[in-house]
Symmetry: C2
Subunit: 354 residues, 2 copies
Amino acid sequence: MAGAAVKGVAAAPLAAFIRAALERLGADAFSAEHVARGLTETSSRGVDSHGVRLFPHYARALEAGRVNGRPNFRFESRFEGAAVLHADDAFGHAAGVKAMDWAVERARRLGTASVAVRRSSHFGAAAYFALRAAEQGLVGLAFTNADALVVPTRGKRPFFGTNPVAFAAPSSDGEPFCLDMATSQLNWNKVLRARESGEALPPAAAVDADGRETRDAAVARALMPSGGYKGFGLGAMVDILCASLTGGPCGPDMLPMFTSPIAARRDIGHYFLALEPAAFDEAGALARRVAELRARLRAEPPLDPAEPVLAAGDPETAARRLRETDGVPVPEADRAAFAVVARKVGLTLPWEPV
Amino acid sequence: MAGAAVKGVAAAPLAAFIRAALERLGADAFSAEHVARGLTETSSRGVDSHGVRLFPHYARALEAGRVNGRPNFRFESRFEGAAVLHADDAFGHAAGVKAMDWAVERARRLGTASVAVRRSSHFGAAAYFALRAAEQGLVGLAFTNADALVVPTRGKRPFFGTNPVAFAAPSSDGEPFCLDMATSQLNWNKVLRARESGEALPPAAAVDADGRETRDAAVARALMPSGGYKGFGLGAMVDILCASLTGGPCGPDMLPMFTSPIAARRDIGHYFLALEPAAFDEAGALARRVAELRARLRAEPPLDPAEPVLAAGDPETAARRLRETDGVPVPEADRAAFAVVARKVGLTLPWEPV
């Protein structure tokens, strides 16, 4: 597979590198496995903002003690169909998989189940966990809160994080339906990219230091909620599910991911919900209908024939197909950050000849 | 309470009139009660689009047989924490209350529970059902699908309905936190009002007959999703929960509410979810934290001091306080439509002296 034609890095050696590096830095096999899979699968789906570029940061967070690589997970379940997972400052990917798997197991028996997670850390893309339920035939929802970055409607300073909502449902065409959306209009990465390119930001997407709407990425300091008060309300819903339910900190009380001391623990909260489709109709019926619905959406007449209608998740599926052959692009700056970790743990980089 | 100073109609006699009229038209007590309460409480919260103005339409739908006023509700529950309610073409308000009450009862025992509803009809405001859970101390979510009115991102004709998402959580300050949002940027009523006033529509809110964005309400024929592809994805999520789970029709397969024959049944689907906060922390903790969160949001510095930051549901709470004294405004056209029903069933109108 190596050679001049390969534009990116193949997913499997990339995941193997991340897994091995995290283990050498002290993470247990379960944590290392799910961070590696979560980041790599997210990059494979084209969502670079939440993919492997986060690995060097995660490695530093593990070394510094912000994240506990050998967590003692503890489920507290007073009711059969719900639990709190005390995640012991685990990697969010590991905590999220533990929590969603619990919800899936209970939903298979009860129809509906949910888990709130305390004392976790950044979990990457919410889609990873919703898809984990859908790949097992269930409907999955995943939410996380985050540090303050989105201004309330009428407000001037950030309060909630980008607080995403992810939803996935099984589909008989082989690819789950998957929506994963921040409740802000943009993600911060798009602001950073617009700063580099000099492009104007879309309207109603960002504010400056005084809380005034701006289309100039250079002066943007915070984000606006998606669809105005609707995104603000959804962001509040996510914080209530992820923090108010269990007593975790809400947006403004949470340390920022990149600018707070790397040893400081952040106490992020998540919320996961699983539904067993067989509780609502014969097994397999939902997956057939989701495939039909998606086929109908894709066949809707487009406004511009060059831009067909897409269902949620279609851009990610297209990216995954492309990257299965071309690999995951890893920009030079990320390669350098990977190399720092590789030297420290004595591993060969996944793009180096063995 | 009568007199020249009363601008509106007091809620209690309004509800009593609707209840009595529906019973005289053949509805059973449960159906009449919940349509009357649902419409009146929604009007009391200032949401006139989904309030008592719908009553004359509901009365015609009942008379014509679109809606079954004496439904035989049947729960089909193969799993303890989930069920399908076969609603027998009931009023959506009645079906929704039955379904949410089932979810609340099971969530109290299991922590999490949900109900999908088949063969229902228009249920008014989704908030009514989410609030019903929150008023009993639980977190409630309510969703419904609807006939096609919102164009897919990149599409040119409507596919999903306005497919709302409602979320409510208990709060120790006495008023549940409540978000109720269409997944379109506007509701159709705002387009109708802009047609009357001649005001321009906001950007990215409506399209003309060719599917092109327009700010001219006179030529608007369909709505755009809230926040672009995000609202489109949320609308799909709502249709999957309300229709794909059980096999009900999705947006384009559903008869429109006002323009299809009044005897035709519509087979609307709903989905309700309830969470017991005591499954996640000590009883009462969530309600205290929601009250704190709301107080903090309201105290956030506003961009314009004349427009304080509001939490989801605050405008509705303010409207309710006002209307508790001033009554519910019932415009002349609606009064005339009420009068037609009143004559038919031999009842005195709630704004007439007895």
